[in-house]
């Protein structure tokens, strides 16, 4: 039986792990290689690194980081951030990552997804989607509603800073049609709040696509992971802050999920 995956996420800036709140304020959370090794031994099913370095030096820092992490890790890991070309992805994959994540690069140039799939195989291509509720209604959007009325989920790029106009559910479907092997789906509204995943968003996208979906944004406690797995067909749940400061945290979450009958690797 295939398990649901628990994935710690490390946001990396200039070679250090950092933690942000709602894509904004940032504080230091440790050394990426040290954290990776600890997570690998601590029961993580996979790791995700998102490089939020914005500089010319990016490519060199990434290759160095990926190589150091790959040397200590014997579980899969994804690296995303600034992947705008096949060469960017090759830099990540040939240095030891298993998957390359692309977000802004794919929105601005959707054919990149197909090029990556044809070059490296679908399983290496993760399309990251950052989505935010938009209550200004437009035609041909996938409409949901909550206590405050109808809304749709809009794709954002540049680390959540720019609204791209695209409908997140439709974009996920298109990304898969073009070659994505996995969707990393982050709710900007929930990110950093520790009030739980957006299960409406996660459920809609996971039902719309045939590839695994990683739920992200808002996890503050094990119960949030249980909810996203019980209420949606998400394949994996990603979290950052609940794991950074506690070595037992991942096994603790897994024992909790196992106790609720959710299949996990123990």
């Amino acid at each position: 039986m295939l398990t649901r995956r628990i994935i710690p996420c490390l946001d990396v800036r200039a070679g250090r792990v950092v933690k942000g709140l709602r894509f904004k304020s940032i504080r230091d959370a440790g050394d990426p290689v040290e954290l990776a090794a600890r997570y690998g031994e601590g029961g993580a099913d996979e790791l995700v690194f998102l490089d939020i370095t914005a500089s010319e030096e990016r490519r060199r820092t990434i290759s160095r980081l990926v190589r150091s992490v790959a040397s200590v890790l014997d579980i899969p890991f994804t690296v995303g951030g600034g992947v705008a070309s096949v060469a960017d992805a090759r830099n990540i994959l040939l240095n030891g990552a298993d998957k390359a994540g692309t977000n802004t690069g794919a929105v601005e140039n959707p054919s990149l997804i197909t090029s990556l799939m044809e070059t490296f195989g679908r399983q290496c291509v993760v399309v990251a989607i950052d989505a935010k509720k938009n209550r200004t209604m437009l035609p041909d959007r996938t409409v949901f509603s909550d206590g405050r009325g109808p809304f749709w989920y809009e794709v954002h790029t540049y680390g959540g800073k720019r609204a791209a106009g695209l409908d997140a559910v439709q974009w996920a479907r298109e990304a898969v049609r073009r070659g994505a092997g996995e969707i990393l789906l982050t709710s900007i509204d929930s990110d950093g709040t520790k009030r739980g995943y957006d299960t409406i968003l996660t459920g809609a996208v996971a039902d719309a696509v045939s590839v695994p979906v990683i739920a992200s944004g808002g996890c503050g406690e094990p119960l949030h992971m249980a909810r996203v797995f019980e209420e949606t067909v998400a394949s994996a749940a990603l979290a950052a802050s609940i794991f950074h400061y506690d070595e037992r945290a991942i096994w603790g979450v897994k024992e909790f999920l196992d106790g609720r009958g959710i299949p996990v690797r123990l």
Partner: protein
């Protein structure tokens, strides 16, 4: 020291496999031609069936490995043991009769994540491992051997899929041992030990 040849078809991550073998005391050469003195051959699991078979040929592999050198095929590297694949038009190595077929679309494809092994018969790679061991899969195609005589372990993904194939000196895993934590490490240890014999 045991010296292994790791065949590079050109695309994807072979760093992890190399690194993992080196941690187990092997000397690893990444090669694009099958020549020289080696104690074992690795066919990694990156790329597509036709790109792999475009660089390999059944004659070159059997000439290099003969019937004694241990060969470990991982994922795609195992699928090429078969006669052919739905993924491409090239002929496979034909070591195990049968074909690689696409996973049924009733399930999420690729099959990506941790799954358990169900042991079917004793083999070299799984020596010392128990039923239910966790390993990491990432694949869209699966082996469909003509008969199950080479299948030493299976996994359940809606259907029962062959997880480990062994036939003579050819051993293959549909999953990635280099990404399967401690269990994967033991599988690679078993392979390296076989190469030393």
């Amino acid at each position: 020291m045991v010296r292994l040849a790791l065949f590079d078809y050109g695309a994807g991550n072979i760093f992890s496999l190399r690194n993992s073998l080196e941690r187990r005391g092997a000397e690893v050469d990444v090669v694009t031609r099958l020549e020289g003195e080696y104690s074992g051959l690795l066919l990694p699991g990156v790329g597509s069936f036709d790109t792999a078979m475009g660089r390999l040929s059944a004659g070159a592999v059997s000439g290099f490995a003969g019937d004694a050198m241990p060969v470990l095929g991982i994922c795609l590297g195992m699928e090429v043991f078969l006669d052919g694949s739905d993924e491409g038009t090239e002929a496979g190595l034909g070591v195990v009769p049968g074909r690689a077929v696409r996973l049924p679309d009733t399930m999420k494809v690729p099959h990506m994540g941790w799954n358990t092994l169900r042991m079917r018969r004793p083999g070299t790679l799984l020596d010392g491992l128990e039923d239910g061991a966790w390993v990491y899969f990432v694949h869209s195609y699966m082996a469909r051997p003509r008969n199950d005589s080479a299948v030493t372990a299976v996994s359940d993904y809606g259907i029962e899929l062959p997880a480990v194939l062994e036939r003579g000196n050819y051993m293959g895993t549909q999953f990635h041992p280099e990404k399967s934590g401690e269990i994967g490490g033991r599988i690679l240890d078993n392979f390296v030990r076989e190469c030393k014999r």
